[in-house]
Amino acid sequence: MGVLEFTIGIVLAYISVIVLVIGIIYKFYTWMRVPVPLKVPLTPGPTTYAGVAARLATEVFVFRSLWRGAKKLWMGGWIFHVLLLTTIIAHIINILFHDLWGAIGYFWYDLVGYTGIIFAGALAFLIVRRIVMPNVRYISHLSDYLILLLLISIVLLGDYVRFYSGVDVKQVSAFIYSLIYLRPVEPPSNIYFLLHMLLVEILMIYIPFSKVMHFIGIFLNPVKNQRNDARMRRKVNPWDFPVEIMSWEEYYEKFKDELEMIERGG
């Protein structure tokens, strides 16, 4: 096994999974350890947990707020995310349960393959948008461009592996299973496959330290996950502190004549 196959196929494979999992947990913890002092839900404010779940579901599945905000971005963003989902599912079936395609139908196997092109197209749209629209360009930093470039490289390489490289899916399957069972064997030595895998590993290591964590963050946003029930039940602010105000007695002393006149009915 060459150095490349060893590093990318085995060493980084384990490191990236560990960093991803521990990183996500750690980031979740950095957010969760900060208290939520007050109720700040935004309309529509459901008063039940079921309502809150339904509201979050509309955000997760159809990006409801984004649809209202920017329809062109919604198209690029939503298609990207849907294809991300289908691609991940297809990878799992393809690599780990390949025979399932027989039951699902090879038509779907082909279709998912071709959506890889649309996937790259959606990413290209997002990159162009970030460069061309002045307001988006102004707020973009290096990391915003790099993540998009990383993603489109992964998708294009993936398309290449799928359509041109001739890598045998059975070999990939055996390799991935070997990693899972902690008895790693040599990965396919195709350079495009290895590059695809390397970029995915870089992505996995990067995710916990990046804005990609929005997939967890959205559920923690009090504006979206709180019930609109602040007048109905007690919400405690753990860092609340007492304040002193002018008492009635002090106020009475200050405005004695006027208040007495009011008491007399004047």
Binding site: P35, K211, N221, R231, R234
Partner: protein, 487 residues
């Protein structure tokens, strides 16, 4: 979309607090300073960074939003202040990035290593100036949060930034002047008890002249069933006066056993614009007075910021109110289950309930001269969800009701742009530009009466309709209720 990088927002920077108000309110570093020369204390940076660290550990929303924004730009054209100035710091994301830049510099490896390339900036004097300018150019209306895919709420970040600014002695006069009056006289307008009683007597005379009915407005009455707290502006003329008249006439017709209070004569809360401490202080009076007077529960008037504080924060900050009872309407028997903890009910909830149970004798034809449209104020609409009740009332008390364009109303409402401490002379030009899309929508309805349930809205829209030369009367929902009552 054009961006104007010449910082057009800078000329709308709010004027500095007066030294006397700062001393009265016991704010840090009371001194003579101006909006162009901050005269910051020697160790301001240390204090600011310490306070920044504190807010990052106190507000999960702020901590989360530092990391959550994906810079998609969907929010950018949603803020009326951006639309008015094209100033990139007025884009919600641009405004948030002023805080994010400091966060990145001091809290992320990326920021410490790569600096500006990673969007990190030092918290230097230039940055402080930008924070003061632009975090007081956000009215905390939360419109941006409606359109952000994750619901990132710039108002939360503005509130946190203002905690930091207040800690180093930077706060605007528009806010502190009113807070000082509220904390030491009883209300934001600075009206002492005798003047308040005079206003009530004047109202009683006016109602007698117009309708022949003798009403008595109870003031500081112990043992009344309900404490009524409107915004103090309602006592003082202009577009608010009709609302006050409406309340009084309605309470008289249903024989409500209520009282107003001079000590708690302010429902509004300018403390919300400054920091947690003063927001809590101003609101504390309401419960204190309710306890002193021995009332059963509290009714609140038509006021926007008041209801943000009462609906979302009062229970947490000033509760529990064990000395009060769960609110039940003495006229209809309706239990206000949505307010059983805070025990404070919105007048529109109360009135809509009365109308629903046919307890008000109204003749909608008495409002026939008006074509009425309703403007949703940001706090009742976005933070309470009080969107249907005012409309139900309006449709019951007038016969010509037109709905405003929902893309700038309801939960997407473009607010009066004078909230969050921005109601000041120095921002008039900004606000007149920012309100343009709303004024155009209002004009399209062909209405001649613009109804709303917020005191600052009434004050600002009254100005706007004059500047935009629209023949529209601005008033409260309860003004129309008052007009329609038959005795």
């Amino acid at each position: 979309m054009k961006l104007d990088f010449s910082r057009p927002g800078e000329k709308f920077r709010l004027h500095a607090s007066k030294k006397s108000d700062m001393e009265l309110m016991k704010l840090p570093f009371p001194r003579e300073w101006s909006r162009d020369d901050f005269k910051l204390p020697e160790n301001w940076k240390e204090i600011a960074l310490k306070k920044f660290d504190e807010v990052l550990k106190k507000y999960r929303s702020v901590r989360l939003y530092m990391d959550l924004c994906v810079h998609c730009g969907a929010c950018s054209d949603k803020c009326p202040f951006f639309l008015a100035t094209n100033d990139p710091y007025n884009m919600p994301v641009g405004r948030q990035d002023l805080m994010r830049a400091v966060y990145r510099k001091y809290y992320t490896r990326e920021g410490k290593l790569l600096g500006e390339k990673a969007g990190a900036r030092d918290f230097d004097e230039e940055m402080v100036k930008l924070w003061y300018t632009y975090f007081y150019q956000c009215s905390e209306c939360r419109r941006c949060a409606v359109f952000c895919p994750y619901g990132i709420d710039t108002a939360e970040i503005t509130i946190a930034a203002r905690e930091v600014l207040t800690a180093i002695g930077l706060s605007p006069r528009s806010t502190t002047e009113s807070i000082a009056k509220c904390e030491y006289i009883g209300n934001h307008m600075g009206i002492p008890p005798a003047a308040l009683a005079d206003a009530c007597r004047f109202m009683e005379e006016e109602i007698k002249e117009e309708t022949g009915i003798e009403v008595k407005i109870p003031i500081n009455k112990k043992g009344a069933e309900i404490l009524f707290v409107p915004p103090s502006a309602d006592f003082f003329g202009g577009p608010h006066w009709g609302t006050f008249k409406g309340y009084v006439k309605m309470f008289h017709q249903i024989g409500l056993d209520y009282t107003i209070s001079t000590y708690a004569s302010e429902g509004g809360n300018f403390g919300l614009f400054l920091n947690y401490e003063h927001m809590k202080k101003i609101n504390a009076k309401i419960y204190k007075e309710a306890k002193r007077l021995g009332v059963k529960w509290i009714l609140g008037g038509e006021c926007g910021h008041m209801w943000r504080v009462i609906h979302d924060f009062m229970g947490t900050m000033n509760g529990p109110a064990d000395f009060l009872e769960e609110p039940v309407s003495p006229i209809t028997g309706t239990k206000f289950k949505n307010a059983v903890y805070t025990k404070m009910v919105h007048i529109c909830e109360f009135t809509a309930d009365l109308i629903k149970h046919n307890k008000l004798k109204i003749d909608p034809s008495k409002n026939d001269q008006y074509i009425v449209t309703y403007h949703d104020s940001c706090n009742p609409a976005r933070s309470m969800g009080l969107i249907d009740e005012p409309r139900y009332i309006l449709k019951s008390v007038c016969r010509n009701y037109v709905e405003l364009d929902p893309s700038v109303n309801r939960e997407r409402t473009i607010c009066c742009t004078a909230g969050g401490g921005l109601l000041a002379d120095e921002t008039l030009e900004l606000r007149l530009k920012a309100i343009k899309p709303k004024m155009e929508a209002i004009k399209r309805t062909g209405a001649n009466f613009l109804a709303m349930i917020c005191a600052i809205d009434k004050a600002s829209f009254d100005t706007y309709v004059r500047h935009y030369k629209l023949p529209i009367k601005v008033g409260g929902v309860h003004e129309l209720v008052g007009n329609a009552l038959v005795f």
